[in-house]
Symmetry: D2
């Protein structure tokens, strides 16, 4: 970008020079600032599970965990974003990989993060000192400014999906970060207190002495177990004529999204069925947990296998088709857009 515009008229050119010197720019020379519809730089793209696993494993062999930030993370870089390590203009998505016995020590930051487990087990994540073992299909939250670390207790390496709102927090120039120097990390094997208090049943919240005194900006339930999610999807698909079922992961103390910046959902599509084509403002990251099929995004088609990740840009039409029963995790920036009154959504006719 430039602050300097040119014309063929000498007086205007003088004006443009003086404007540039004064750090002013003429609107009438700018083009593409206000487009009729979103023109996202983010492009539709898919990352293959098979490829990511291999590269993560090679990273595990070559790169020690304590190199550069104590995290062994491969960030998905959207080809439309000019080399930025972001899956969309608003979201960071990455695979993280830990060898048996390795520890990614606690730190905290204003970007909010979540972990979705596409495969394996053996790693515990601590959230403000509360230890959460993670297994296939689980969603684990490490909300903004909570201390979080990871430790592989298991016998095998484990890879999982990380999604952060980092590009948004960066665009808003509000990044804060602290490594944990004083905070002890209880890598215990006790059950998660958050789960004990909030994770036992629908609509049941602790009261009395175990009640929380003040509402946090994020869900106090920091893990959503696959067993519950699976049962909820099964119940939705038992409803008459249902071929697609979707659950939203919510803060049980508000019914709202799990964190102020990220919406999380899981959709199940029966074999042979498709979701209806739709579009919405904001980016959506999809992670395939089970099954195979394909995604259509604008004029592209991505075949999908378990573990694959793909991104749908803002206002891009998409649908999912299941060859075998398909379970797909979906994460979007929709809560940001809703808070700012910028969310739009459309179901489209074939």
């Amino acid at each position: 970008m430039t602050t300097r515009y040119n014309s063929e008229n000498g007086a205007i050119d003088d004006l443009y020079g003086d404007l540039a010197a004064a750090q002013l720019q003429p609107l009438w020379e700018m083009h593409g600032l206000l487009t009729n519809e979103p023109q996202p730089r983010t492009i539709p793209f898919r990352w293959r599970a098979s490829e990511m696993y291999k590269l993560a494993a090679r990273s595990g062999e070559l790169i020690p965990i304590d190199e550069g930030g104590d995290r062994r993370v491969l960030a998905m870089s959207n080809p439309g974003l000019g080399g930025a390590p972001y899956i969309s203009a608003t979201l960071w998505a990455a695979v993280q990989y830990l060898l048996p016995g390795e520890t990614a020590p606690p730190h905290r930051h204003t970007p909010a993060a979540l972990r979705f487990i596409l495969d394996g087990d053996g790693v515990s994540t601590t959230v403000d000192g509360d230890s959460i073992p993670m297994t296939r299909g689980d969603l684990v939250l490490t909300p903004a400014w909570t201390w979080h670390g990871h430790h592989n207790f298991g016998m095998s390496s484990m890879m999982w999906l990380d999604i952060l709102d980092l590009p948004i927090v960066e665009a808003l120039e509000t990044i804060f970060f602290q490594p944990d120097r004083s905070h002890p990390s209880p890598w215990g094997t006790v059950p998660s207190v958050a789960e004990q208090r909030y994770g036992q049943g629908p609509g049941l919240l602790p009261s009395g002495q175990h009640a929380t005194t003040s509402k946090t900006a994020h869900s106090p339930l920091t893990v959503y177990r696959w067993g519950d999610t699976d049962r909820a999807l099964h119940a939705l698909l038992d409803l008459p004529r249902a071929k697609v079922g979707t659950v939203r992961f919510t803060d049980p103390t508000s019914g709202g999204d799990v964190m102020p910046t990220l919406r999380c959902e899981m959709t199940r599509i029966l074999a042979g069925a498709s979701s209806e084509p739709a579009r919405q403002t904001g980016a959506q990251v999809f992670g395939v947990l089970n099954g195979s099929g394909h995604a259509g995004v604008e004029d592209q088609t991505f075949s999908l296998e378990s573990g694959d990740i793909f991104v749908v840009p803002s206002w891009s039409t998409y649908l999912l088709h299941a060859d075998t029963e398909l379970d797909v995790f979906i994460c979007s920036d929709a809560p940001v857009l809703q808070a700012l009154s910028l969310f739009r959504q459309e179901l489209l006719e074939y």
Copy 2:
């Protein structure tokens, strides 16, 4: 009450006469209007399960279901309320009794109701046409202005606890009622749709095509199953040093109370332990599900057995003691008081 006051001064007496004629009353002659603390007319009282069962059974023998309102209901009448059929100045509590094969046909009204099952099974309640079989320990909501009826599919009679906010709605002069003349009642055996959509796991809400479009004033989850409640209580009591665990039943779409007028909780006290003495504004109805012990309310002590019901008046100090592990359902008018900024609560020292 009277509009006519008397004095010993002739001029004042004339004034009082003219005030009475003008439908005016002198504040300075009224006493007890503004007391330092609540002076509830509601008194502490306990109803025995054994007695209620016997009387309900005799009613079942003598009174057909279609007599007077199509409900075989025995209302607990607080001795402090001068013969009103209310358990407190604000709450209605009653036992309802259905013989095998009997139907209490649907109607709806502005008072909100709940059913808590202290024993037995076999009856289904329909809520806006959604059929909910009820078993021991379940909480079922029939919120304000929802169509609701009951049918005993089982082989034995069933009695359960009804609680309504009827005295409040009556005091506000806002009673509406409709019998169901046109609304078909599907006494089916299909699973409850509300339960399928909202009752499958903590923090999981239907999204996409099964999402609800607009928020209702009450919980869309109309049944809370004992299995979930029991597991949640168990988890709370697994926390360090816990001897009392309490869960609140909440609207999973808001985290708030299940209905705008009634708060529902279940507390478990380990054998030998007691709750801390406490008091709060508003009335509380307690129903013993499991175990035995006693309740102290102000200067009275009630021994408690499974199925017993008792009421704690506004601002009365109470505690619960468990001889054997005790599970007690609690229903109060606290949401009303909180909405109106009239709720106060105190934990008291021994």
Copy 3:
């Protein structure tokens, strides 16, 4: 009311006796509990300003201020309420009268109150120590549990309208009261701080060092001046085809009602025009500030003069007609009903 029912069948009669002994009442013998529509005990009634002024003045001559509660108050007693000193089942309305130099010393209570000035000036009300001089057309709030007193600085007696939610707080058994023994009362003549901070213009709230740190349950603006109200009504009636204009007094920090239990509005009807017939659940108290006309309430008609007060019961159809331009203050319990999801409103056709 009675806990004892009778039948002509011996076995049933025995049952009824045993029920009564057990403090249980058979629902099937109760009648009129659930009516199709509200059957308010409150009846439509009007109190004449001329009569109230005369009686207040006689009270001023005969009754010292320190008699019985330090308030010289005449409560309007609805003839339908069996002698209760309430204008409706839910509202207290009264005229209060202070002679020059008299003081009604501060106290506080959980019932919320407002003062509407139908005529005169000279009295200041303090709200938590903030002194508010009151003049004709002003609305002054003394919200629940705020210290409040009155002092007549002026040269003449002053009478004003008090409205409280006392019957509601009493029905909920949550009355608390404290006389002011320690709280100094600055009967100063400084401008009201609440007014300086919140009362200067539409949509303008103090920020920075003068901002309020936490939201109260009621409006921090405790006085609404007639000059502003008059100007707002004038602006509404300048809109095309407007013959009726109504403003709602709101909490400027929320846009909601001024207090959790009372809604306040002022309506102006141009000479010769009428409001549309309407009804709503809950009671409404009307106070005529300016003009003359009449009110139709169900099948009754009340002629109206400046200073008259009348009450419209729950779900009763009413309209206002202006002979000369009519300004009417309206206070209702609608916020209570809305909080509890019991509010209904209908505009009716002629």
Copy 4:
């Protein structure tokens, strides 16, 4: 930015090549992603009123209004943003200039805008067809997706300040824009309906037939007049020991910010006084309405005259000092940060 990293180890280099080919980037090679505190690209900068007026006037002579978007706008370009036409990473600020008789025809877009009038009068802005004449000190809102245009009815040219959330909406890839082809523009001289309904007094909202049926995401009051603002500041500075007074412009129906993305305030500092040094996350744009003084921002000092504009970057310490009584308009992105739980604020000691 690049997707390609390099190392000095052949195996790692091979890995890096394969990662780049797979659109993956190694986190451990990225630096500066998570900084301890915000490191804004936005830098402190001031634009001089005198300079902007001259350049706007020259643009008026040389550039017709219908050139490039029908707006004669000079965007302040922050020198830290690499040529982007934004005053901060999150805000657009510009001066707009209209000659007598000129019209900037209506259009609408998802970015929200406001107009603050630092000098002059004569231009009307229409907001969804409601015509608002603008004069010195007024704040006018043209919220997201509202139709808005400008027309100069006056005898002289007029320049004003525009602030938009454009960079945020752009970063979120949610720009929508529509020129007005069908929407008639009533360039009338009738008073603004929004102002008549919502702009008459503190806490007074239209009710009954003039009430708004549904809450919009922005304030229904679209103009805040200088007379009201000035009076409110005067009242705050009448409070004991006050040397700085600040009012926030709010949505009178919610008490919240005027629009979901922009906070607006006006601060007055008495001659010789200073604001306390402070910092907050997010950018703030300041426009001097009256008086002179200076601003300290981190280690820089800007002298201030009426009409000057300056920007304070995220988390930068600043204070204002008044040589003569100083009135400064402040616009920030704080509502965005609060909605996303990213807002932090500190008062600092000298």
